[in-house]
Amino acid sequence: METLLKITELTKNFGGFTALSGVNLEVGAGERLGLIGPNGSGKTTLINCISGAFNQSQGSIELKGREITGLKAYQRTRLGISRSFQIPRPFSSMTVLENLLVPIAFVGGSDGPKEVEEAMAILQQMGLHLKAHLQSNKLSQVELRKMELARAMAAKPKLLISDEAMAGLAGAEVDEILQILFDLNATGITVIMIEHIMQAVMKFSQRVVCLDTGKIICQGTPSEIVKDPHVQRAYLGD
């Protein structure tokens, strides 16, 4: 599997507090990677550095061999790094369809009738096409999550970061989102999933990385991870 994303010696501190220290990680093209770790372990900081919301203190991030540290978030999105937000951030004054036309227009470069079709296709895939013309602040919780993923898809990503898209959803809704992520990955998109719902992460990921207090404490296949003493200590407490 050819490397899509390469992170070397990534460190990020806020004032005195070190959120990430010396993280090294490689993500293959088309891979399904799970990222787990207790609250405050640095997961969100890591993806904020990858997506460009934060600038790391040290270390480098390469996308397909090209260093992207200096680029702003919107430039990284155009290069193919897309993310959904843990707490959905819809463009509330716009309809669901218009929400998707923003990334399509600004990444694709135009938003004519062809693009509207493209957006409708993505909504169809998410099961939201019936609500395309509904004001986005009228959506339910799970629909908002789906729109976040749809909006990330509309930016034609090579790497999709799903940040706790299933937190707080009912069992059936979790499976729905899980199936969507599987389908997206099937089209060749690399997916990094951050979740606390262990069954989902273990079912979805080919490889799981466990973070704790800003460092990667272990990585491996789901079955290896479950048995790993570090993970148990991080999750169950020593």
Binding site: P38, Q141, A167, G168, A170, M198, Y235, G237
Partner: protein, 242 residues
């Protein structure tokens, strides 16, 4: 001072945080109950329901203090706090730009606690000597562990009858987690506090709990006294979803 908390068949959801589907739990005087499960499963939602910060869609939360009955779902957070229920919230929620002492004094806002402010403050400084040293320092300039101590001390300043603690170990290194839990154990026994604690760290919780409830996807999947919990193999599967 007899106190009893009876939660029956609570259904609730709170923004994007886990819905509760028929949760029942009860707590006797002087008892310490642990609410266990990885986060995002409804532990904090339940704590918020008890504190009146989230209104459950159905079910009841009855608090009995010295024979008097209160239905907490009908009361505002302020009224519940005035009854003597204190919460150490998830993420501590200190007042960052206020000093340690100002945070502590705010803890004693409720009228009943104002009378005992001197004794409570003296007790907190003795229980957490570090806080006495840094009483004029801003809360935001303290480390995670120190902030956790301050959050617990602030709750104790209201001389609570029932103490709720929501995930004290979040963001703390393993070593700090055990010292925090030891301190809670010490305070609990010394003042026979009734404690309901939500905690991810299973082993830490076992050190101080008398009884435990495992919550997964908003439902209580297992509950028993501590010894039974200790040697039950199913627990690991609930935690790690194996």
């Amino acid at each position: 001072m007899a106190i009893k908390l009876v939660i029956t068949d609570i259904h609730a959801s709170y923004g994007s945080v886990r819905a509760l589907m028929g949760v029942s739990l009860n707590l006797q005087s002087g008892q310490t109950v642990a609410l266990l499960g990885t986060n995002g499963n409804g532990k904090s939602t339940l704590m918020k329901c008890v504190m009146g910060m989230v209104k459950p869609s159905s079910g009841s939360i009855l608090l009995e203090i010295d024979g008097e009955h209160f239905d907490l779902t009908k009361l505002s957070t302020q009224e519940i706090v005035n009854l003597g229920v204190a919460l150490v919230p998830e993420g501590r929620r200190l007042f960052p730009k206020l000093t340690v002492q100002e945070n502590l004094l705010l803890g004693a806002f409720r009228p009943a606690a104002r009378a005992e402010i001197a004794t409570n403050l003296e007790f907190c400084y003795e229980a957490f000597p570090l806080l006495k040293e840094r009483q004029h320092q801003l809360a935001c300039s303290m480390s995670g562990g120190q902030q956790q101590m301050l959050a617990i001390a602030r709750a104790l300043m209201s001389s609570p009858k029932l103490l709720l603690i929501d995930e004290p170990s979040v963001g703390l290194s393993p070593l700090l987690v055990s010292t925090t839990i030891t301190k809670i154990k010490e305070l609990k026994e010394k003042y026979n506090l009734t404690v309901l604690m939500a905690e991810q760290s299973f082993h830490q919780a076992m050190r101080i709990a008398d009884y435990g409830y495992i919550i997964v996807h908003g439902e209580i999947v297992f509950h028993s006294n501590v010894d039974e919990l200790q040697n039950n193999q199913m627990i690991k599967s609930f935690y790690l979803g194996a």
